[in-house]
Amino acid sequence: MTWQNPYELTHRATAVRAVTVVVFVVLAFAFFRVQVLSSERYEVQSQENRLRPVTLPAPRGLLTDRRGVVLADNVPGYSVALLASSVDSLMAKLDRVSTLLPLDSVQVDGIVRRYVRAPTEPVMVLRDAPFDIVSALEEQRAWNPGLVIRSDPKRRYPYGEVTAHLAGYVGEITEDELQTPEYRNARGGTLVGRDGLEQVYDELLRGHDGVRFVEVDALGRAVRNADEVEVLLPEPGQTVRSTIDIELQQYIADLFPAGRRGAVIAMEPTRGEILALYSAPGYDPNAFIGGYDPEAWQQLAGSEEFPLFNRATQARYAPASPWKLAVAAMALERGLVTMDSKMAMPCEGGMRYYNRYFRCWRTEGHGHLTLFEAIQHSCDVFFYQLGLTLGLTNLLHDAVALGFRERSGIDLPNEYRSQFPPSTEYYNQLYGPRGWTNAVTLNLAIGQGENAQTLVNMMLFYSMLANRRGGAPRPHLVGGGRGEIRALGLEEPALDGLREALVAVVDRGTAAGAQIADLHIAGKTGTAQNPQGPDHGWFIAFAPVENPEVVVGAIVEFAEHGSSVAPMVTRIIARHLLGPDAVPTGPIWSLEMPADSAPEPVPILPDTSLLRGGTTRPR
C-alpha cells in the first residue's frame, strides 16, 4: 500500500489538522490565562516596573517662641539622590559623579545600605548639597540618568547655640527607628527630631511626606513624570509655638559667665510655662545639618564639658541651702514649728552630735535664731536641729511626697530623675542595718548627703513656694497649663512666712548683694559641695513676691558660692519684669558676697559622690 493512497492521506491530514488545532488551542488558552484571567496582576507588575515613587519631603513645621519669633525654620536646600537598578549600577553611577562628589568608603557603604533597603526609590547620596555642586550635577543629568536632584528644605536654627538645648536638632531616621510605631509614617531618609522640642514634638513637626511618580526604563533611567498617577502633595508639619521668650533666653545666654558650665531656667510659676531654659556650654545645632560630620560629632560627644548634656534637666546636683526651705515646709506642715520658733541650741559655729562636730558655714556662729532668721541667714545649726526634730522617717517620707525622687515631667527628652532616699530601708541596704547613724539626718537637713536634684525639679519646688496656694503645675514648653501636679499642703500664713523669709534673704541675708530696687524678690542661695572640685553655686528666686510672675533658678558649676550666682538671677528677673532698660549693667562677678552655707563636709558616710554620678541607685 503506497503512502500516497488518497484515503490514507486524507486520514493523516485529519490527524495533522487535529494536532495543529490542539496546539493552537493550547497556545490561545495560555494567552487567555495570562491576558484575561491574570491580567490585573500583570498590570500591577507592569506599573511597579516602570513607576518609581519619588518622595516629596514635607517641610518640617516651624518652632517659635511665645511671640512667634522663629526658633527653627527651613531654608531651601538641595539633595542629590540616585536611581539605580542594581548595586553594580549604583556603584557605576557613584563613580561617575565622584569627581564632583568625593565620597569615602564609609559613605559609600552607607549609601549602598540605604539602597538595599529600598532599591526602587532614589537613594540619598548627599543631603544639603552646596549650590555649585548641584548646578554642576544638573549639567550632568543628560548623560548621567538616574540622578535625582530635588529640593530638600533644610533645618536652620537662627539662634544656634542659644536655643540648642531647647530646640534640639534633627537627624536622619535610623533603621531601628523605622520599625517602631511612632515613626510608622516615616520613610528612610526622613529627618526626625533628635533632641529638645524637635524630638518631643517630632510627630507634629514632621508632617506627611508627599509622593510623585516618575516613569523609568529598565535601566532605571527616569523618562518623565508619570502624569496619570496623582501626585500626593506633602503635608507640611505644624508650627509648634513654645512658651520660650527668646529675648529673655538671649539675655540669659549673654549674661551667663563665659566659659562656665551650668544652667538657668526662667519659668512662669502659676502656669508652669518655661520662659527660658539655658544650659552651658552649648553647641551649634546647625552643624548637624547635612548629616553628622563624624569629626565634629566626636569632638562634641567626647568633650569633657559635655555640651550635648542639658544641665537644666539632665544634671543632678546636691540641692544645698535652697533645699532648707523643703525642710522648713515639712516641719511647718507637720505643725512642729512656726516661723518664730527657735531651736534648743544656739548657733555657735557648729554643733556636736554624739561624737561628731557639725559645722555651720559661719564659723563665728549665728546665735539664737528663729526659723525666719535661720532661713534668712541660712543657718546650718538651726536646720540640723530642725531635721532632728522632724525625724529621719518623716523627712524621707515628706520629701518623697513633695516629688524630690521624681522627674518634673517637663516636655524635654531624657530628663533625669532626681535622687533621694525613699526610706530608711535605703540606708540599711547601703550600709547594713547598724552601719549608719541618725547623723545622716543632719546632712539631709541642709541639702547635702544622698540628695541630688535637677534644676528643673528644684524649680518646681520653688514654684510651689511662689504660688499663692502652694501648688505647681507641670513645667512645660509647649501647650497650656495642665493643672497642679504637686502641692506643699501649707496654709497661706505659713507660706507667707516662708516667702517673707526668702525676701529677707535677698534684702538682708545671704543674697543681699543681689537686690534690685523696685522689685520684691524672694530667693535662696546655695552652695553645693562638690567632691571633685570647687563647689557649685545655686540661686533660685521669684518675683514679685505678692503675685509671682517669674521664678528663675540657676546653677553654676565651680562657682564657689551661691551668692555669686544671685546677681545674675536677679538681673534676669529684672529684665523680665521691668524690661531691658531697667537692668543695672556692669560686671556681675565683681560683687562681693557673703559666703553661704558650705560647711566642711562631715565624713559620716563612706562616699556620697556615688549618688551624684547617677549610676548607683537604691536596689
Binding site: 490514507e8 490527524a15 491576558q35 507592569s46 516596573n49
Partner: protein, 421 residues
C-alpha cells in the same frame, strides 16, 4: 503563463496579512522611549521583504521538476555552507553566542542554517518521493535520518540548539506524512524522552518499563529493539554528564523555564518581563506602539525572540487571537496544498514547510508565555532577520507553485477522492 485561476488566494492572502501585521509589530518594536539601536530596523526589514518577495516569485516560477532535479546540488551547497560557517562563522545581534552568520569581507550575508532548512526539506522530499512504501522498520528510517542528521549536527555545533530543533520538527512532520507509524516515531524520539526524564530515577525507571512494553508490542527487529533500548539506558546514564556539559546560560534557561522566579534579575528576567508585557496588555491591549514594557526596555529582544510579546502587550488578547488564527489558517492551507499536490515530492515540500512554520510558531509563541523554554528561534513574518524572512517567503513561493500545479492539472477534491475533470 500564471493564470489567476491557479493562484491559491487563501495562501497568498493569509501570508500577506501576516506580513503586514508582522511588519507593523516590528515597526512598533523599534518605538521606544530611549534611543534604541532597533529604532530603524523596520527599514532594513522592508528591504529583506522586497528581496524575499522577488525570490519567492522566482521560487514560484520554478517547476517542481526542476527543483527536484536541482535538490541534491542545493543540499550539497547548504551542507558546505554549514561546514564553512562552522569555521568562519561570526556571531551577531541577539544571537551573538552562536557563530551562525556567514560573512564575506566582514559583511554578514546570511545564516546558512535557514537555507539548510529548505534544502533539507527538499532533500527529504526527494528521498521519499522515490519510494512507494512508507518505512516500517527503524532500519528503513536511517537514510532519512542521515539527511536531516547532518545539518542538524552542524547547526547544533554552532551552537544553535533552537534552529537544530526545527530540523527535528519538520523531520517528524514529513515522516508522519509519508506514513510512518506513530509508534515507530515514538521509538525514534524515545532517547530524547529518556534524557528529559532522567532528572528523577523514578520517572526514568517508569519510562524504561513503558519503553520495554512498547518494544514488545511493536516488535521491531531484535537488533533494532536492543539498540533503541540500549540508547535509552545510555541517555539516562549520560544525562547528568550532558547537563554538566551545557553552558551555564543554557542550564539557567532550562531552570528558569521550570521556575522563572529562581533568578528574576538574570535568567528569569526574560520570561517574567514577557509575561508582564503580555498580561498587562489585557483584553484589548495598550494600543499600537504604546506598550510600556517595550517602550521602557523592560522587554528584552523585542524585535526578534520576544516580538510576539510586543503584539500581546499592544494588541491584547484580541490581537493575539487574530494572529494565532492567521497562523493556524496558514498551516491548514499548507496542509490542504500538500494533500492536493500532484506528486509526492511537491506534497512533502508543502508539509515540510508547514512543519518548519509550526515548529517556529509553537516554540516562539509558547516561549513568550512560559509554555516553552527560552529557545531563541524567530517568529515567521514577525521577527527581524533577513535570512529567515527570505526562507519563509521562498517556502511560501514553493507552496504556491505546488498549489498552482494541482489547480492547473485540474484536481478537484470531492470527499477525499481525486477526480480528473
Amino acid at each position: 503563463m500564471v493564470g489567476q485561476r491557479g493562484l491559491d488566494k487563501p495562501l497568498l492572502g493569509v501570508t500577506g496579512l501576516l506580513l503586514v501585521i508582522g511588519f507593523l509589530t516590528l515597526y512598533s518594536a523599534g518605538q521606544t522611549d530611549f534611543p534604541s539601536p532597533v529604532a530603524d530596523i523596520w527599514k532594513r526589514q522592508l528591504l529583506w521583504l522586497g528581496v524575499g518577495t522577488v525570490l519567492a516569485f522566482v521560487a514560484f516560477r520554478v517547476s517542481p521538476r526542476i527543483l527536484e532535479w536541482a535538490t541534491p546540488f542545493l543540499y550539497a551547497i547548504a551542507i558546505s555552507l554549514l561546514v564553512l560557517v562552522l569555521f568562519f562563522g561570526v556571531g551577531a545581534g541577539t544571537a551573538a553566542g552562536a557563530n551562525s552568520w556567514l560573512a564575506v569581507g566582514g559583511v554578514r550575508v546570511g545564516q546558512p542554517a535557514e537555507l539548510a532548512k529548505l534544502a533539507t526539506i527538499l532533500m527529504l522530499a526527494r528521498h521519499y518521493s522515490t519510494r512507494r512504501d512508507p518505512p516500517t522498520t527503524l532500519g528503513e528510517l536511517i537514510p532519512g535520518l542521515v539527511i536531516v542528521g547532518i545539518p542538524f549536527l552542524l547547526v547544533g555545533a554552532q551552537p544553535d540548539l533552537g534552529s537544530a530543533m526545527v530540523f527535528l520538527g519538520f523531520l517528524f512532520a514529513v515522516l508522519y506524512w509519508v506514513g510512518v507509524k506513530p509508534r515507530l516515531l515514538l521509538l525514534l524520539i524515545s532517547p530524547l524522552i529518556s534524557l528529559l526524564l532522567a532528572f528523577s530515577t523514578v520517572s526514568w525507571g517508569a519510562w524504561i518499563v513503558v519503553l520495554t512494553l512498547l518494544l514488545l508490542w511493536v516488535r521491531p527487529y531484535v537488533l533494532e529493539g536492543l539498540v533503541i533500548w540500549l540508547i535509552n539506558v545510555a541517555m539516562g546514564v549520560m544525562a547528568l554528564e550532558l547537563w554538566q556539559r551545557l553552558a551555564p546560560y543554557q542550564q539557567n534557561r532550562l531552570l528558569s523555564f521550570l521556575n522563572p522566579e529562581v533568578d528574576p534579575r538574570a535568567t528569569g528576567w526574560h520570561i517574567i518581563q514577557s509575561k508582564v508585557a503580555i498580561g498587562s496588555g489585557g483584553f484589548f491591549g495598550k494600543g499600537f506602539t504604546q506598550g510600556t514594557q517595550k517602550r521602557l526596555a523592560f522587554l528584552p529582544e523585542q524585535h526578534t525572540d520576544f516580538i510576539f510579546s510586543v503584539a500581546g502587550e499592544e494588541l491584547g488578547f484580541v490581537g493575539v487571537l487574530v494572529i494565532l488564527c492567521l497562523f493556524i489558517t496558514l498551516l491548514l492551507v499548507l496542509l490542504r496544498v500538500a494533500r492536493r499536490a500532484t506528486d509526492p515530492y511537491s506534497s512533502m515540500v508543502a508539509v515540510g514547510i508547514g512543519g518548519v512554520l509550526l515548529t517556529h510558531v509553537l516554540v516562539n509563541v509558547g516561549m513568550t508565555v512560559g509554555l516553552m523554554p527560552i529557545v531563541g528561534i524567530p517568529l515567521p513574518f514577525f521577527s527581524y532577520g533577513g535570512s529567515f524572512l527570505i526562507t519563509c517567503l521562498v517556502g511560501i513561493g514553493m507552496a504556491l507553485r505546488v498549489a498552482w500545479e494541482s489547480r492547473r492539472s485540474g484536481y478537484l477534491e470531492i470527499t477525499g477522492e481525486f477526480r480528473r475533470v
